[in-house]
Point group: C2
Chain length 190, copies 2
Amino acid sequence: MEALHKKIREEGIVLSDQVLKVDAFLNHQIDPALMKLIGDEFAALFKDSGITKIVTIEASGIAPAIMTGLNLGVPVIFARKQQSLTLTENLLSATVYSFTKKVESTVAISPRHLTSSDRVLVIDDFLANGKASQALISIIKQAGATVAGLGIVIEKSFQGGRAELDAQGYRVESLARVKSLAGGVITFID
Amino acid sequence: MEALHKKIREEGIVLSDQVLKVDAFLNHQIDPALMKLIGDEFAALFKDSGITKIVTIEASGIAPAIMTGLNLGVPVIFARKQQSLTLTENLLSATVYSFTKKVESTVAISPRHLTSSDRVLVIDDFLANGKASQALISIIKQAGATVAGLGIVIEKSFQGGRAELDAQGYRVESLARVKSLAGGVITFID
């Protein structure tokens, strides 16, 4: 997606060979117009997939997910990283280790909002080692729902998450595929 | 805002005299079309306020904030509740106590994204005791920026947050003002 590639080139900061900082438009400050374009792109890619729900993780996945949901006309559920006192019922949950934050957290979704008849599109801001995506897939399967595909804003293709999802047979659509950050230079696939 | 009142009446769950659960459309599952209406309403209310930035807190503030930012054509910054390894610079921060989660957390914004020339609209999902709003106001002031107003999706008017903001002279626009949850009945102001 050219508008996204351009934004990453202009405003992304390479912190190391592994870490791309996009706090200027995605992870801290958010560009709503770019999120709209991203949501429209995901919606176009998955419009024939019979999506009934979108699932993401707080916090950075919410903006692209909500724009996709607006276009497709379906609700968005964001998995919570810790249990709040107003989420009191039994929860569908999975653990996820964040390499960026170096903490393991529990992500959870209320079973009230996800049923076995749902066809779910997973949306997330980053795909790196795939731990977050695998946790969401686990939760969706616990609900008996179907994973119809994954929409990723930025994929770090040099890490193992994409290959694992491909091997599992999931449809993955990444709008920017970063081949390498070596030497501080951002190289895309394609 | 009638569409919001209707949604709260139909899908809100009164957990106690103090706690209204709106996980079906705002705090866990999100209704994107309703968020669009909410964003358009905030944008209409503040269109003449010279807003240059929107500030909210992760996670439930992001959806209404991003829809408001899309309409007004301005970036959205979400304050983070804990410091991540990719937010490495000096941060503007404030502590906030959540009565719902019964934890104190530090919320932070990078000074790179907020400057003294900014006129900021604060958007949040709930206004109860006002601790989150006061933390965001503190951060905005630390940046030397101007608080142009606050847009709240649901105000619990029987708690002290609104009165404190009024006394401080801030413009507060709440789309639903809950007068009481007593006896499990939701009563609105107006």
